[in-house]
Symmetry: C2
Subunit: 645 residues, 2 copies
């Protein structure tokens, strides 16, 4: 089917709107979250996180940086990293989705307030950056490798896309047009042959091109993509793989280097492949996804095995303790998978989105929306220290959610993702509606031929596995309701008209002339289950994880009889895991006679000593870890015993 920018306004209120594809995303005007797991987080985001982000950026001078440019008072002592402008833009994007979603006047006022300050800092030729090109600063584009100038602009464009699609042309969009035009003039086919060390301009330009209907922006994105991978940037000690300038993207086999960079670039590659009908490029990205998801992705969906370069490791290099799994990389992974789903209709992509939403994105913010995880390791060896809510955390690690970071990309990224989350929930095609993520919501859409598809989803998923889809409009002719059955959901059932039958993981498609009040209940099996890792993942050999529905569970030290014993805990896989509220319960023990002295002492026995009394180990959703305060934690649990067949 073909999708045009002339689609109804409500249908355009989405972060990603390809001009063609097998399915079309439903927009914020078509899908409304009405509560539940994600609705609650969206409320906290709206009520706390948005203001929290603005207030920190005011306090640290990241907003005043725009004023200083406008007032001609720039100097070398500018506060913030070179990418701090992008945080303002990501907040603007979040505010735009929020205002679009709810019409909230506070959000609307904040957009105007921030836009005015941003607009004043734009140079007459459209260049807009508070770190380069003014008095006391390095010249424009003098450090493409690490200067983040185009990266910042990319986020400005994404903010403008959100605004354009929810409110129409305004000052922010006009600022973005001038900035995008400046980029095209400066880096076009006849301009500087450079690229930005941190991809983002590409995905920003591509979507801005879609949103404005101006193909030249898409073309500039294509140009940036094609330039990359040829050693266009200077080499750095981490190597050009760090910023994916080692191999052209269509020849790459796997994601490597800095994870957020790799994934933002890949998202843009899907956009360009779709807009240009470049199937070779699309297939290349699909192959990269396959290998990277198989071999370089954590069970949480987290990506990035290394702190050193915030990057992917090698195949099977997935240490739980040193997992970086940056929150932003999880968001970037969702951006990639959503684009691949829109380009292919394949539900493996929306499966991964669900995993990443629950186990990376949901893990980051604290319940009050005013503190965040930046890194999301699967094993915390030492409890973090309680974070001071008035202090900036200099570090991306620690096991405690921090109010703000010196490099504070994650809070605003979470904010824009949660505010725009409805744009990732459902799609339509010529024949019906596809629901990908299960949350209480109202869906009101039309098929291309004008037939209404309206359903209400009632569920407290993932607390329980029952998803009731109630039809809210009569159909004059049959249409197909498609429900994603997650890959983990062996034993799922569907009930319609009082009849229950088993369904296989994949897609459940029900084609009927639905009537108002018709109900389809998908029942997903929520009994906790053991999950075994591929034997080539060395770092978790001999361990098992416990999952429940879409949630990965974890053990926290505070729930053990001896909190110091988490590093020696062994669990019995001969029974369990048993359900326990929204988590699970396994039997474990802490061997009393573990070794002393040299860790490789001659004669140390291979098997663990058979002592240590067994006790119940409660497991809770990983996304809620450290909610009760600092703790040590692990997802992968050393196992003993023989698993039940």
């Amino acid at each position: 089917m073909t999708i045009t920018p002339q689609a109804p306004a409500a249908a355009r209120a989405v972060p990603v709107l390809p001009t063609s594809g097998p399915v079309r995303p439903l927009g914020l005007g078509q899908v409304s979250l009405t509560g539940g797991f994600w609705g609650g987080r969206q409320s906290v985001n709206a009520g706390a996180t948005l203001a929290h982000c603005e207030s920190w950026m005011e306090r640290l001078g990241w907003l005043a940086n725009f004023d200083r440019v406008a007032d001609g008072t720039t100097s070398p002592d500018r506060p913030g990293w070179s990418f701090s402008d992008s945080e303002v833009y990501k907040l603007l994007e979040a505010l735009a989705w929020e205002a679009g979603r709810t019409g909230d006047q506070g959000a609307e006022a904040a957009i105007k307030r921030l836009t005015a300050r941003v607009a004043r800092a734009q140079d007459p030729d459209g260049y807009l950056n508070t770190c380069f090109g003014h008095d006391g600063q390095q010249p424009r584009y003098s450090d493409l490798e690490m200067g983040h100038e185009l990266y910042n602009t990319g986020h400005l464009l994404q903010a403008a896309v959100a605004r354009l699609r929810t409110a129409g042309e305004d000052d922010l969009v006009r600022v973005a047009r001038r900035a995008a035009d400046h980029v095209c003039r400066t880096f076009g086919a006849d301009g500087l042959p450079g690229i930005c060390g941190h991809p983002e301009i590409e995905v920003g330009l591509a979507e801005f091109g879609r949103a404005t209907g101006e193909d030249r922006y898409v073309e500039q994105a294509r140009l940036f993509l094609d330039r990359r991978g040829h050693g266009t940037l200077r080499d750095i000690p981490l190597g050009r793989a760090y910023f994916q300038d080692d191999v052209p993207i269509r020849r790459a086999e796997v994601w490597r280097g800095h994870a957020v960079r790799a994934l933002y670039l890949t998202a843009a590659a899907v956009d360009v492949a779709v807009e240009r009908g470049d199937d070779e490029l699309l297939r290349a990205v699909e192959r990269q996804w396959e290998r990277s998801v198989e071999r370089r992705t954590y069970i949480t969906g987290g990506m990035g095995s290394r702190h050193q370069d915030e990057g992917f490791g090698e195949d099977w290099e997935l240490p739980p303790d040193r997992a970086y799994c940056e929150t932003c990389a999880g968001i970037a992974s969702i951006m990639v998978s959503w684009r691949l789903h829109l380009a292919t209709g394949d539900v493996r992509y929306t499966d991964l989105i669900e995993r990443t939403l629950y186990n990376v994105v949901a893990a980051s913010p604290s319940p009050d929306g005013r503190a965040f995880f930046y890194a999301n390791p699967l094993h915390q060896r030492s409890p973090g220290r309680p974070a001071d809510p008035a202090q900036v955390s200099p570090r991306a690690e620690g096991g405690t959610r921090a109010a703000w970071f010196e490099v504070s990309c994650c809070p605003t990224n979470v904010a824009r993702t949660l505010a725009g989350l409805a744009g990732y929930l459902a799609t339509t095609d010529d024949d019906g509606l596809q629901i990908h993520q299960y949350a209480p919501c109202a869906i009101r859409a039309e098929l291309p031929d004008g037939r209404p598809v309206a359903v209400d989803v009632e569920t407290d998923y993932p607390s329980t596995g029952a998803v009731r889809v109630r039809v809210a409009a009569d159909a004059s002719s049959p249409w197909t309701l498609s429900l994603r059955v997650p890959a983990w959901a062996a034993g799922a059932t569907v009930t319609e008209d009082g009849r229950t039958r088993p369904v296989e993981p994949g897609t459940l498609a029900i084609r009927r002339a639905f009537r108002t009040g018709d109900v389809v209940v998908l029942d997903l099996p929520m009994r906790p289950r053991f999950t075994w890792p591929d034997p080539r993942i060395d770092a978790v050999r001999g361990c098992v994880a416990v999952e429940r529905g879409p949630e990965v569970l974890c053990a926290e030290s505070r729930d053990l009889p001896d909190p110091g014993g988490l590093d020696a805990l062994v669990i019995d896989v001969g029974s369990g895991p048993e359900p326990d509220g929204g988590g699970a319960r396994v039997r474990g023990r802490i061997p009393a006679h573990i070794g002393r002295g040299w860790a490789y002492a001659p004669g140390r026995p291979a098997p663990l000593a058979e002592d240590g009394e067994r006790f119940d180990v409660p497991l809770r959703p990983y996304h809620s870890w450290a909610h009760r305060g600092p703790a040590s934690m692990r997802v992968w649990l050393p196992a003993e015993g023989t698993p039940r067949p």
Copy 2:
């Protein structure tokens, strides 16, 4: 016993000479390596590495930096890092040991050549540094955190110690005196209250104080030690633990932060504790050694689990693939353990030295002495690329020995360690001789009462385990020959007078009125053995290592039927390991039906599929890995089967 600087010249030719202690190190004039494993490496070091280092430093302008200071032509574009001066000093130290050991005129000429250039760069007040304090440079001591000024001076002092103890007062020693006096004036009790971000000045000052008999240098070292740990340095994103300024050393419980920094500091702490009779400090260091060696040290003796900060990880955080195990950290660990041994006489310290010598220090240089490993991981997932011998490696990783590095601390550190190695082999006390490391050598010493102790050691250890100690002088009264029996050497025997008896790990002490020609044969069991890790080391759970004598063995991809199969190799611990030349042989298989797709696929079986034909897997000494070219490699091998009791 008390040791004084007035000891005979031959006995003073050692890197570490405490003024008191239960044992006294034998010097380069008392112990001569006569071939074998270490003698061969010493020859390659003398014949290739020393000139290699000088030539690279000339080529890169690190030597010319001294000329530029002398000629007043400094500028902001100085080549090399701020610590490149220290490489020149470490080379000078290596040359001094080499000249002292052999009287080699080439080494002597190189010392004079380099000393002349260094001396010209010294400022009138004794300050000597090519990176700070001159035209176009930052002011002196303006970046104590990362500027390495005092670090460089510490290495100058160590070079001067080597020269003073092998050749006596000369220009290098005079330069060092002026530099040390400058440091004492500038940072004394009434001076700047700073410390250096990279410890080294402390250990340099302490030994220079011992070598010159000037206690004020020791006192300055004490002052630097006491200042550290109170947040004296500015905080950095990695935290003050990076440079051990988080906790005063006598209150610290474990080594943490940058490994080389932590260990150089600890070496100085032992020196100061001994010189000041500070038993509290000595015990604190011993406790840190115990916990760090138990929980933060690799089976190779390597230290440093993290690339990010070249640092220690947390307890039990010992990933084999991302092990940093910097060569310099291995050398620094030997410096610490040797000082602790000299302070206590405990052979656990010389046990660790042996392990580290064979499995870290010996691994670094290539057989030709012109390429080096910087990091020493225990698992290389992808074969490195062949290194270009004409290029500087920008990176510390890669699986291939490189000719030189941008940060090239390791080659000169290996060079000084090998040149001075005889200083770590044996000690005497009032009653006899203690031999700690087994290598063919001649030992000619006297006890404090003048009795000669002279032995020749004949062995091709570690090729075989027989160590023949042949007495080379008649004794008028009994003395004690002590031989270290390594902790791994269960089943060792000793033969004297034709009678063989078992000996326990620890110290074998034989007290006799030895006569010329008396022979004691220590026979160490060289059958390869399985070594199981402490179950709390998550990263190698379910794996086993194979050791043979003091050598850790490893598997290399090129020795497998399918080189790509190393990441799925499983070995059978129900039999073997069998001896195989200088290595071992185990039975292994590569399961044919390992998983495909998502690494945590539902229903993936816990045990490995029982297929894949068994084949012999040869294992070779870890220190020789990649000698045959790039390969993937692993020390820890996933195990199946039941170990023999």
